[in-house]
C-alpha cells in the first residue's frame, strides 16, 4: 500500500515555506498571481519520508525500464519509439536530400547526361514522395510521440503499442520505397502520381510500390493520429483545462484531426488506382467511362490539407519556443487557437488550386481562389501573435530563435508567392514551372524544416540530456539559410523564363544556364549546412557535461524532467493551475520530484497514467498501460507482407500474410487490452481514488474506435464522391442500357444488416444485465445475419452480370458493395471475438469494453451499408426519372 493514502487529503501548501522562487532573467509575474479555483488541489504539504521516496522511485524505474539487449526493440515506451521515429525520419530526409543534390547536379549545365531521363524521373518522384510521406508528415508524429506526453505530464500516450506498430509500419514501407530506386524500379510519375501516366503508360511495379507502400504508411499515420488525439483530449494532467493547454497540444489536436479527413481520400484514391492497375477496373480510363481528373480531386483533397498538416505542427514548435525566449507568456493565446482551428478547416477548401489548368469552370476556380485567400488570414494572425510576443517580451539570443527568425523570413516569402499563385490567372502562366518549385520550397522549408530544426536544437537536451553545439549550430544555420536562398530565389526567375519542372534537362541559349548553375551551387551550400546539423547530432559527446535542468528557463511542463530524462516520463503527475506551470506554480519541480502529486508510485508494478476529462482535465480513471512487446513489430511485419507481396501481385502470399496479421492482431488485443483489474479502484495519491476500468464513452478505447471509424467513413465517402463525380461528368450515369445491382438483393442485404446491427446492440444490453445465454444467442444471430447480408450485397451486382472491368459504373458499384461486405466480415470477426471474451470470462456484465466498442463499430458499419444501398440500388431509380 502506498504511503500517500495515509497522507492528509487535498492539503494545500503553506504560504511561508513555498514562496515563489524565480530564476534570474525571468519576468517577475508574482505581482499578478493567478487566481485559482477554490477546489484546486495542491501538492502534499510535507514530502513523503526519504526512504519511501527511494522505494517509490525504484519501483517506477523497474516498471518503466527499457528492455536490454535484443529485447530493446520490443520497447513501446514513447521515449524509445519516438526517438527511433525521429531518427528514421531524419535518415529519410538525408536520403531525399541526396536525391535533390543529384537533380541539381544534373541541372547545373544544359544538355547534361549525368542522369538519364528515366533515372531523373525516378529521382524527382522519390525525392518528393520521401520528403512528404517519410519526412514531413511522420516527423510531426515522431516529434509529438517524443514530446507530447512530457508536455502533458503523462507517463506515456494512451496506446503505446499502437505507436510502436505505427513506427514499424512506417519504417517498413519507407525502406521498401527507398530501396526500389536502387533497382531502377522506383515510381517515376511524380509524387502526385497522375493517371493515365501512372496507369496505362507505366508498366512495371513502380506505381504499385508507391500506391501500396504509401497506403501502408498512411494507415500508420492514421494510427498515430488516433493516438495523438486521444492523448491530447484524455491524457492531460489533472487541472489542465482547455484554456490552459499548451499551444503545442492545440496544434497537434488540429493536425491529427486533419489527418483523419485528409488521408482517407488518398487511401481511397490509391485503392482505385491499384484496382485499375491490377484488375483493369477503369476508374481513370476515359475510354471506359472513367476520368483521370477524379484522381486529381482525390489526391489534392489529401494533398492540400497535407501541406497544413506539415505546417501546423512545425508552427506549434515555434509557439512553444518563442514564449520561452521572449521570457513571457504568448500574446494572444486565444487568437493562436483560432488560427490553428481556422487553418485546419479552411485548408480543406483549397485543393482545386492545384488544378487551375484542368479546364474547370471559372466559378469553381473562383471559389477555390477565394478560400486560398481566406486561409492566409489565420496564418497572418499567428505570425502577428509571435511577433507581438517577441516585442512585448525580452528576447534572448539563442540558436532555436535563430532558426525561427530564418523560418519567418523564408516562410513569409513563400506565403507571398503563395498568394500570387492562388490567383488563377497568374497560376495559368507559372503552372508546372520552376516558379512553383520555388514557391513551395519557400513555403515548406520556411514553414516546416527551419522550425523543425529550431525544435531539434530546443528539445535535444530533453531527449539526450545534453546541449547541441552553439558554434556548429550557428555555422550550420547561416550555411543553410544562405544556401537555401541562393538555391531557390533564382528559381522564381528560371520558372518565369519558362523552364518546366520535371524535365531532365534544358537546351542552351534560353537564358537558363546561369540561373540553374547558381541554384546548383546554392544547393551544395544548403546541403553542407544541413549535413553539419547531422554531424552535430551524432558526434560523440561523452565528455560534454549534462545540460542544467530546464536549460532554457521555459515555463511548460516538459522541462520538469531531470537531465537526462528517466524512462518513467514524470516522477509524479502534477495538478496544473497555469499555462506556464514552471513559471507560475511555486516549487513545482521539487514537489514533482518528491512524489507529492498523483501516481508517485507503482505499487502493483504496472505502468499507469491518469485519464482526465476533455474540457476541464478532471481525473476520471487510472489507466494501465501495456509494457514492452514484440507483437507490434510482428503485426507490422505481417501487415506489411500483405502490401509488399501485393505489389508483386503475389496474391496467395499477400492474403496469407494478411491472415497471419489478423491472427497476431487478435492475439495482441486478447492479451493486451481490456484487462480485468484486480480491484475496482486505486488510490492515486492526494486523497483521490480512481476506477481502474472504464467502458463506454468514458474509455479511451471507445474514443479510439470512434476516431478510427470517422477516418474509415471518410474513405468510404470519398468513394461515394467518385460515384457522383462520374454522374456529373457523364450525360447519363448509370449509362443507358446498363442494369444496376437491382433493388431486391441490396435491400434484402440492408434489412439483414439492420438485423445484425440491432442484435449486436441487444447483445450489449443483455451482457450488461447478466444474461449470458441470450447474449450468446443474440450475437450468434448477429453473425448469421451479417454474413447473409454481406452475401446479399454481393449477389445483387453478380446476378445482374455487372462486369467491373467493362465500365466505371459497374466498377464503382462493385467497389461500394465489396467495401460494405468487407466491413461486415470484420464486424463478424469482432462479434465472435466478443463471444470468446465473454466465454473466457475476460468480459463481464460490468467489464464490457469489448462489446461497447464493437457496438460502436456496428453503428458506423450499418451507416456504411445504408449509404451503399441507397446509392447503389436507389440512385439509378432516381436518375431514371431525372430530366
Amino acid at each position: 500500500m502506498s504511503q500517500t493514502e495515509d497522507a492528509p487529503p487535498t492539503s494545500r501548501p503553506g504560504a511561508s515555506d513555498l514562496a515563489p522562487v524565480l530564476e534570474p532573467g525571468l519576468v517577475d509575474r508574482r505581482a499578478e498571481r493567478l487566481p485559482r479555483a477554490d477546489f484546486d488541489v495542491g501538492p502534499l504539504s510535507d514530502a513523503p519520508p526519504e526512504a519511501l521516496q527511494r522505494e517509490q522511485a525504484a519501483r517506477l524505474v523497474e516498471v518503466w525500464e527499457t528492455p536490454k539487449g535484443f529485447r530493446y526493440w520490443s520497447s513501446v515506451n514513447n521515449s524509445d519509439v519516438g526517438v527511433w521515429y525521429v531518427t528514421s525520419c531524419f535518415i529519410f530526409f538525408l536520403f531525399a536530400g541526396v536525391l535533390a543534390l543529384l537533380m541539381r547536379t544534373q541541372l547545373a549545365k544544359p544538355n547534361s547526361t549525368f542522369l538519364s531521363a528515366d533515372t531523373y524521373n525516378q529521382v524527382f518522384t522519390v525525392h518528393g514522395s520521401v520528403m512528404m510521406f517519410l519526412f514531413a508528415i511522420p516527423i510531426f508524429e515522431a516529434i509529438a510521440v517524443v514530446i507530447l506526453p512530457q508536455i502533458l505530464g503523462a507517463r506515456d500516450l494512451p496506446f503505446p503499442r499502437l505507436s510502436a506498430f505505427g513506427f514499424w509500419c512506417f519504417i517498413m514501407g519507407g525502406l521498401f520505397l527507398c530501396g526500389s530506386i536502387f533497382f531502377g524500379a522506383a515510381p517515376s510519375g511524380g509524387w502526385f502520381m497522375y493517371p493515365p501516366l501512372t496507369s496505362s503508360y507505366t508498366p512495371g511495379i513502380g506505381p504499385d510500390i508507391w500506391l501500396l507502400g504509401f497506403s501502408f504508411i498512411e494507415v500508420a499515420a492514421i494510427a498515430a493520429a488516433v493516438e495523438l488525439i486521444v492523448g491530447v483530449l484524455k491524457c492531460r494532467p489533472p487541472g489542465m483545462r482547455v484554456q490552459l493547454m499548451p499551444l503545442y497540444a492545440w496544434y497537434v489536436l488540429v493536425a491529427a484531426a486533419m489527418i483523419l479527413f485528409a488521408f482517407p481520400p488518398l487511401i481511397a484514391g490509391s485503392l482505385l488506382l491499384e484496382l485499375e492497375r491490377a484488375f483493369a477496373w477503369p476508374f481513370f480510363d476515359p475510354a471506359r467511362g472513367g476520368d483521370p481528373l477524379l484522381w486529381q480531386h482525390l489526391f489534392w483533397l489529401f494533398g492540400h490539407p497535407e501541406v497544413y498538416i506539415i505546417f501546423l505542427p512545425s508552427i506549434a514548435l515555434v509557439a512553444m519556443i518563442v514564449p520561452t525566449f521572449s521570457r513571457r507568456p504568448i500574446v494572444g493565446y486565444g487568437w493562436v487557437v483560432l488560427a490553428a482551428i481556422g487553418t485546419g478547416f479552411l485548408s480543406f477548401g483549397l485543393w482545386v488550386h492545384h488544378m487551375y489548368t484542368t479546364g474547370l469552370p471559372g466559378i469553381s476556380l473562383g471559389l477555390f481562389s477565394a478560400a486560398s485567400m481566406a486561409v492566409s488570414i489565420p496564418t497572418g494572425v499567428q505570425f502577428t501573435c509571435f511577433t507581438a510576443t517577441m516585442l512585448a517580451g525580452k528576447v534572448t539570443r539563442s540558436l532555436p530563435m535563430l532558426w525561427i527568425f530564418g523560418a519567418f523570413a523564408i516562410f513569409v516569402l513563400g506565403g507571398l508567392t503563395g498568394v500570387m499563385v492562388a490567383l488563377a490567372p497568374l497560376d495559368f502562366q507559372v503552372h508546372d514551372t520552376f516558379f512553383v518549385v520555388a514557391h513551395f520550397h519557400y513555403a515548406l522549408i520556411g514553414g516546416s524544416i527551419f522550425p523543425v530544426m529550431a525544435g531539434v536544437y530546443y528539445f535535444f537536451p530533453m531527449v539526450n540530456g545534453k546541449l547541441l553545439s552553439e558554434r556548429i549550430g550557428k555555422i550550420a544555420f547561416w550555411l543553410s539559410f544562405v544556401g537555401f536562398n541562393i538555391t531557390f530565389m533564382p528559381m522564381h526567375l528560371t520558372g518565369m523564363r519558362g523552364m518546366p519542372r520535371r524535365v531532365f534537362t534544358y537546351p542552351e541559349g534560353l537564358g537558363l544556364e546561369t540561373l540553374n548553375l547558381v541554384s546548383s551551387i546554392g544547393s551544395a551550400i544548403l546541403g553542407v549546412g544541413l549535413a553539419l546539423v547531422f554531424v552535430d547530432l551524432v558526434r560523440p559527446r561523452k565528455k560534454q557535461p549534462l545540460a542544467p535542468r530546464d536549460p532554457w528557463k521555459a515555463g511548460t511542463l516538459e522541462w520538469v524532467q531531470e537531465m537526462p530524462g528517466k524512462d518513467w516520463g514524470i516522477r509524479s503527475i502534477p495538478e496544473i493551475d497555469s499555462r506556464y506551470p514552471l513559471w507560475d506554480q511555486p516549487n513545482l519541480i521539487r514537489d514533482i520530484d518528491e512524489g507529492r502529486f498523483y501516481l508517485p508510485d507503482a505499487e502493483e508494478m504496472r505502468r499507469e497514467t491518469i485519464i482526465t476529462s476533455v474540457v476541464d482535465g478532471t481525473p476520471q480513471q487510472c489507466q494501465r498501460l501495456p509494457g514492452s512487446s514484440f507483437l507490434p513489430l510482428v503485426a507490422a511485419l505481417t501487415t506489411g507482407g500483405f502490401f509488399i507481396f501485393g505489389t508483386f501481385h503475389w496474391w496467395a502470399l499477400a492474403i496469407g500474410s494478411l491472415g497471419v496479421a489478423l491472427g497476431v492482431i487478435l492475439y495482441w488485443l486478447w492479451t493486451g487490452t481490456a484487462h480485468l483489474p484486480e480491484k475496482p479502484h486505486k488510490h492515486v495519491g492526494l486523497g483521490l481514488s480512481l476506477p481502474l476500468y472504464v467502458s463506454g464513452p468514458g474509455s479511451i478505447g471507445y474514443w479510439a474506435m470512434c476516431i478510427t471509424m470517422l477516418a474509415d467513413l471518410t474513405a468510404f465517402i470519398s468513394m461515394v464522391f467518385g460515384y457522383f463525380y462520374f454522374w456529373t461528368i457523364h450525360d447519363d450515369f448509370p449509362p443507358p442500357g446498363t442494369i444496376g445491382p437491382g433493388v431486391l438483393w441490396p435491400v434484402a442485404g440492408l434489412a439483414l444488416v439492420a438485423g445484425a446491427w440491432g442484435l449486436t446492440l441487444l447483445a450489449r444490453r443483455q451482457n450488461r444485465h447478466g444474461s449470458a445465454q441470450s447474449f450468446y444467442l443474440s450475437l450468434g444471430g448477429g453473425v448469421l445475419l451479417a454474413l447473409l447480408g454481406a452475401a446479399a450485397l454481393l449477389i445483387g451486382p453478380w446476378q445482374t452480370g455487372l462486369d467491373p472491368a467493362s465500365h466505371s459504373y459497374p466498377a464503382t458499384v462493385w467497389l461500394l458493395m465489396s467495401w460494405s461486405a468487407l466491413h461486415l466480415v470484420i464486424g463478424v470477426i469482432m462479434q465472435l471475438y466478443c463471444v470468446a471474451r465473454r466465454f473466457a470470462g475476460k468480459m463481464t456484465p460490468r467489464h464490457d469494453i469489448d462489446i461497447g466498442n464493437v457496438a460502436l463499430y456496428w453503428h458506423f458499419t450499418a451507416l456504411t451499408v445504408a449509404i451503399t444501398v441507397l446509392v447503389g440500388a436507389g440512385f439509378p431509380l432516381v436518375s431514371e426519372v431525372m430530366p
Binding site: G334, L338, G342, G366, L367, A370, V615
Partner: protein, 124 residues
C-alpha cells in the same frame, strides 16, 4: 466567483462556425460544378448564382447564431473577461471567445466565397 459546470461546455462547438463555412463551401461548389457540367461550358450561371446567394445568407445567419452563443459565454462575468486563469468561468469565456473569433473568420471566408459568384456570371 461564477462557476460553470464542465458539462455546459463542449469542444465540439468549436467546430460549429467553420463547419458552416465548410457546408457553404461544399454546397456552393457542388451547385456550380453540377450546374456547369449539365448546362454546358458556356452557360450562364443564373439559377446556380441565386442558389449560392441563398446559401450565403443562410450561412451568415447560422454563423451569426454561433457568434451570439459565443458572445454570451464570453460575457458571463462582470468586468473584463480573463481567459488565461484556472477557473471554470475562464474556460467558459475562452470557449466563447473561440466561438466568436471563429465565427468572424468563417463569416469573412463565406463572403469571400460569395464574391466569386458576384464577379463570375457564367460557366466559362
Amino acid at each position: 466567483m461564477t462557476e460553470v459546470p464542465e458539462k455546459h461546455d463542449s469542444l465540439l462547438w468549436v467546430a460549429a462556425a467553420p463547419g458552416v463555412w465548410a457546408a457553404h463551401f461544399l454546397l456552393s461548389y457542388a451547385t456550380a460544378a453540377v450546374w456547369c457540367a449539365k448546362q454546358g461550358s458556356d452557360a450562364p450561371l443564373s439559377l446556380a448564382r441565386g442558389a449560392i446567394g441563398v446559401f450565403t445568407l443562410a450561412g451568415l445567419a447560422a454563423v451569426g447564431l454561433v457568434a451570439m452563443r459565443g458572445l454570451r459565454s464570453y460575457r458571463i462575468t462582470d468586468g473584463k473577461p480573463r481567459i488565461d486563469v484556472d477557473t471554470s468561468a475562464a474556460r467558459h469565456q475562452f470557449l466563447g471567445f473561440t466561438l466568436l473569433s471563429l465565427s468572424g473568420l468563417s463569416a469573412v471566408a463565406i463572403v469571400y466565397q460569395a464574391l466569386a459568384a458576384v464577379f463570375i456570371g457564367s460557366c466559362r
